[in-house]
Symmetry: C2
Amino acid sequence: MSDYSLLILSMTLKKDNIISVALELFAKHGYANTSTSKISKQAGVSEGLIFRHFVNKEGLLDAIVSVGTESFEAYFEKMKNESSAKQRIFLAIDFPLSIMNENKDYWNLVTSLKYQSPEISKKYHNSEIFNQFEELLISSFTALGLESPELETKYLILTITGLSGLLKQNDNQEEIKELINFIKNKYQY
Amino acid sequence: MSDYSLLILSMTLKKDNIISVALELFAKHGYANTSTSKISKQAGVSEGLIFRHFVNKEGLLDAIVSVGTESFEAYFEKMKNESSAKQRIFLAIDFPLSIMNENKDYWNLVTSLKYQSPEISKKYHNSEIFNQFEELLISSFTALGLESPELETKYLILTITGLSGLLKQNDNQEEIKELINFIKNKYQY
DNA sequence: GTCTATACTCCGATAGAC
DNA sequence: GTCTATCGGAGTATAGAC
């Protein structure tokens, strides 16, 4: 590795470090309750560097959200490629435990943004991919011959949302796994 | 009415008015994003009066939460007095639309407090009455002869939580009523 | 009205890569 | 020597709790 790439590495390392520390603090204490000075201290960088990289606090939030969205998109891609409708639904139910758990802070943050100021809330209400997610579920339930695929989908999304909320407050993984299996059993057509 | 009682009346009126305005603003913009000065302006009182009555901003939040809890307790009382286990479960499912909708601002606020700072979140995680609610559901599912009353209860609470979240973002009552009926249909034992 | 916190700015200095 | 990422600290403006 050349010295130059070491420099590049350290650059991105600091930038990435700011992102990961900010994510952690935003998720833990909320966006509004996390000051840029706290982030800089915990990340071991100067406060000015945050603004150099991200222009302002919201720019930092943007960067965090766009990084986290990628993993959701990857999971969604996996679901789309699953040919069995039933397995697609199971993947949807597994979603909270697998992806949200991998990226717990990120999902807590995104959820919490709904309860921030309306502008913030609107900006990060990423409707496009969620709509696609919804469409995929509707078509899956249709393929299974269910009577009301739209209502089934709404109910399932509500369940998934609830599961992610549970994960936030509850650290007991086994308990949640048990619940998820229980729910899957209800989808044995 | 004497002048003195008029004075008393206006005192409590102003206090109540602060509470109701603060509730509205906290629910709409979030606790952290609502300043005491905005509350005072909209309530038509001096900012100092807020601190005279509630000591500090969190004291105001306390007052709001304790007022709102009453309606939940009343609904819970109704559920306990219902002799049919199935009807108790239906009452639980109806809970979001009936009580949360009556007191939409209050429930939005309580939900949003989960995403505030940990101290705030912990303080208002009213565990006692929710535990009783849970117990009542478990005994209801047991009475109906279900195999896993605890898991059924967890699943139902998750559903109810999800419904309350839906109510926040969605103004379409009919849509939610339809979903609720759909869910009730799943509980026809 | 007071005081503190906070987002954000500016700039001189430094260290390491060319 | 120059460039660039970064530091560190002084400083501003404003909002918000009290």
